[in-house]
Symmetry: D2
């Protein structure tokens, strides 16, 4: 399903090379002023065509708001935004039906939908479907910023080249400001050249490369979330895995915690004035599924773009035989920079729901 | 919330030192024969007191089935099982209210529930609440086994000592048989001694240690799951993060894929007779959120048990001051062996729901 | 499914002649003091054996609270209550399997569950399953009363003998007080004799009789509910139709409004001090799915108890032939008096969810 | 909320005088051929401007399908349809903000959304929002017709003028054919003149009139639905009350059953060949929340259109005083004829979900 949420539900629709894509957001509070420029800015960060790390396909990606907004304020009724598909080239994908691309959803989509799914450009499985998520996240982010929350993400790694990590107990607003508008978001900007070189090398060798994104929610009030199945980790992961290419997620110290001793991993409490804090933040701001008031920190792992120019082995589903495939068309050699605003958006939508559950929205 | 699921919903209840714990399972198909011995076996694998890796607390953990079963077959009505708490020692935990244990949900639970939550033994946050999950999973597993699915997990690592991994394209039934009844489930059993020594060392030094669990779903038919928010990764992660101590999850190559090139990570398709397979399984049996027919593979990271005997710094919420805390009582120095059947159970509950969605149950 | 709710979910379990019945209530606010005597009082109103209108089956119906309550206050964790079945006589029902009782769920349950459902005493379809609803409602009612809401219902009619209706704009607290403890709840108590005579006449003629229940929610704040599918009417009806025998529901003027002109049915607004009110209440306190601040009023229609002593025609599903059936055993000739506290309870559970949605809980 | 459904979810959006209205339908099976002419036919039946019973506002109401359909077949991805608003006259409604119209959601919407809701033409509360429901229902109906189900409704009454009722055990296909394309759907067409005269009389006296709609689902297989809260009555009612003006619903004999004896109301079973049927159908095809195989029958009560031309008393929310209001603009004196296709549509969406739950879709 392409719907998600409880208090604030999103319902994403569209196919890559159809008429358009979009989202309905149901359950927004009324009277929230929307800064459209900020929304466009987020859409633009995700949009392709920025530089050589991305596909040269151009999409203006201007959302047309059909409902739910009056005089730039939410009305409380469902907000529907439609983004037209203006630059579709279905000819590039003519052979996919018979020969599923390795690493893509071509094969599984064909089984799931008995061959009736729209395969042009990946159809509903396309990374393009993250644009409506960015839109919905940009709306949710404005609600959260009014409450003093900031959400910021950065490219934590591309291949084995790593950015610095967030200081998990202290995330300056200025850093959030900078990351929130960047199209190649890094804490340590000196890593950009090296990362771009790696991506370019992959592009030149008709290959692609994966990476990780780290995201922080700053200002998360203590006491949101729930034990067991509506814990913050479960809620965030259930939306983040909706982003194509995400294959792993970890909170706080995450997998590294699995090699730690309790005495290392436990974050001791102390009073900072009247506020209970921890000096370290291996718990990623979450204990028992509930926020501690420390920044919520998570990292998502993205696999390398499966569309690569190299010849690959696959099957011909029509002829029932093994075959080879060369994918033409326009593809990102590295999806990670464009995934940053998508992950920020998913986190914003998740947090809006988490706060609503405990009457903090 | 402590409820999870769509077609088959579980609703877990109970507190560690209250009258009992249990689960309601709603939406089970009718007429499923239940092998109670197999259910007890799974409960017993999770139960404490087995050996020195676990807390010496003894619980018989015999579920009392209140409803939903007649003549050992499901009736289709909600199945409720209650497990009495027979061995409670609330005196051990008398100081928790004022001084939250580092790494525990004591602090966040106190904020979330305004101090009204039951703190004895961790209350509803206790690892003991995984017993009802194991029960529900054992029921779901019997449904899946009738359909030729097998779910098996093992201790993938304790600290930095690693077991072998599943061969992700070939998981022998005999291995599943062995793992499914083991209380210290390893593929390479030669690692047991080393792992136990590490755990014992932690225990002797009043410390604890984390680890990872790897789980495979064998026989998963192709075509289950959905794009976006009801993808297999999202569904499994949303229940697995309901297990206390889980701080990360990855599917297939997972975080390792983030360092790979597309040419390495892509799993090429081939025909094995009439069946489309992949020779490698970096995709963990999931493409576009949908099963490919290859084994579904995931790994969960568990943090070290936060309850350690060492003196730790914390706050006194009553006196509003920094203080120190020594935790007495019975605690597992390593939760990982007992987490194995819990993760198998969570996977079984998730897969039953995934199959129901596509009319394959 | 036997689960209902969003912010506060109930999950009902049990079968009439099994070990027990009960409910898990998930999502309750923490710290709500529970007056157990008031809960027992509500349970007792629904319990059979009160008088000749009801089945002589005796059930003590004392709920055993397994979890979620500490020192008589809710902990915020799921509250599970189990009511043991102490007085089961499965022998009375031996022939139901083959010969479905007219008007009962025997036939449809048999199809739905492929013959595996527990048929003794109606199994999960039994009216006895309303006891857990009354329990859950009694808990929710205590939350609502703290916020100044009152919920009261009465026997609006038995057969064609009608009680007075609520004055829909003015429901005195004293009336609520009286109705809330009555086992034969009437506004105009002079109707009791006539109604009891009708029920007795039905009993003597081996027959049964239907009726209606009217329910009011007093003190409902304006602004709860939503347009379209989470409107108050939709939410209340979706739980009220979960009560066996309910075949109709109407809000405010309801079906009578279908014969009215707009000029008659419209309730004009006026200021009563600073509060906007209406002088009439044909809208039943609900406009556009949202509460107006006037009392919410609805009526539910209950069919006559299908278990009657007269010989009836039915089929023999085993012999595949038409046959006749005589039902023995203990049955209420009129379920309406006992349905009153059940409908109050369902309303309370619905209203708790409606208020939670708009942060008014 | 404006979202509804489980296996097949609809998410309705739009405001009466905004850019447009529409719906996302998520979870449709793939490969369903859509007959667009049949969809337009249903849209057209609901559209205003047909005759003097309806508002003269003209809307072409042609849905623009943005996604989810390829070569006239569903792709399995979410289907989004947008209907543009072409004929908006917001000037007519200039005074609503301050003076809520009696019987409308103006007052409650203002409270619920703190005055930020779009009030032009009723905004999201407008009856115009039933157009997307009709669209979604027309899609669902085509799925159901492939499985041999028919859904038909008629004007059961306008004011106190009644149409004949369905013969609840025998609903001819020809009758369904005729009702399904009618804009003034009656079983006994001789009642049309009298009904139209009553409506015209109300129109001329600046008044309006209510009515009832009866709906039948023919071919419903036995065994769909569930006991308790996912029973057919609860599912259908929860969507039908999403239709503005509906204030009551009854299934089978409904409220009339409340005056019956069990011996009258019980429908005796018999074998018709191999099929178990009932000779009467007071149970409306539903026992214990589950379908019996007999036609599912329900009736909905619609209040008179609250917009009437007569001067009415109300309050001025700005001036905080009592005042009077005269509503100008275009309004249906009777909504009932146009509600018929809306109720058919809601029933179709409900039944698609009910069948999906039991793997019958």
């Amino acid at each position: 399903m392409s719907s998600w949420g409880s208090a604030v539900k999103i319902s994403v629709f569209g196919e890559s090379h159809g008429k358009g894509i979009g989202v309905v957001i149901d359950g927004l509070p009324a009277g929230v002023p929307l800064d459209m420029d900020k929304i466009y800015m987020q859409m633009s960060r995700r949009a392709p065509g920025k530089d050589k790390t991305a596909t040269p396909r151009l999409e203006k990606d201007i959302p047309d708001i059909i409902s739910g907004v009056l005089d730039n304020k939410t009305t409380g009724a469902p907000l529907c935004a439609v983004i037209s598909n203006t630059n579709t080239r279905s000819g590039d994908y003519g052979n996919i039906m018979s020969c599923p691309r390795p690493g893509h959803a071509d094969f599984t989509g064909n089984i799931r939908y008995n061959g009736f799914n729209d395969i042009s450009g990946g159809g509903h499985f396309s990374g393009r479907l993250t644009a409506p998520i960015v839109f919905a996240g940009a709306v949710c982010r404005q609600i959260l910023e009014k409450k003093g929350l900031r959400i910021a993400a950065h490219i934590a790694s591309i291949g084995n080249i790593c950015d610095s990590r967030f200081d998990p107990v202290n995330i300056p607003d200025e850093l959030c400001d900078r990351l929130n508008v960047s199209t190649f978001a890094l804490i340590d900007e000196s890593k950009e050249t090296e990362m771009r070189e790696l991506v370019e090398e992959c592009r030149m060798s008709l290959d692609s490369i994966g990476g990780t994104v780290e995201c922080a929610v700053k200002g998360m009030p203590a006491g949101a979330g729930s034990p067991m199945f509506y814990g913050i980790e479960g809620v965030i992961s259930s939306i983040v895995f909706g982003i194509p290419a995400v294959k792993g997620i970890e909170f706080g110290a995450g997998f590294a915690a699995s090699e730690m001793r309790g005495s290392e991993n436990n974050d001791e409490f102390y009073y900072d004035g009247d506020t209970v804090k921890t000096r370290t933040n291996n718990h990623g701001g979450i204990l028992g599924g509930i926020s501690s008031g420390m920044p919520v920190i998570f990292r998502a792992a993205l696999k390398p773009t499966p569309s690569i120019g190299r010849k690959q082995k696959t099957v011909d589903l029509v002829k029932h035989e093994n075959t080879e495939l060369e994918i033409h068309g326009r593809h990102d050699p590295c999806i990670v920079p464009r995934a940053v605003p998508v992950i920020e958006a998913a986190a914003a939508i998740a947090v809006v729901n988490l706060l609503a559950q405990v009457n903090m929205l």
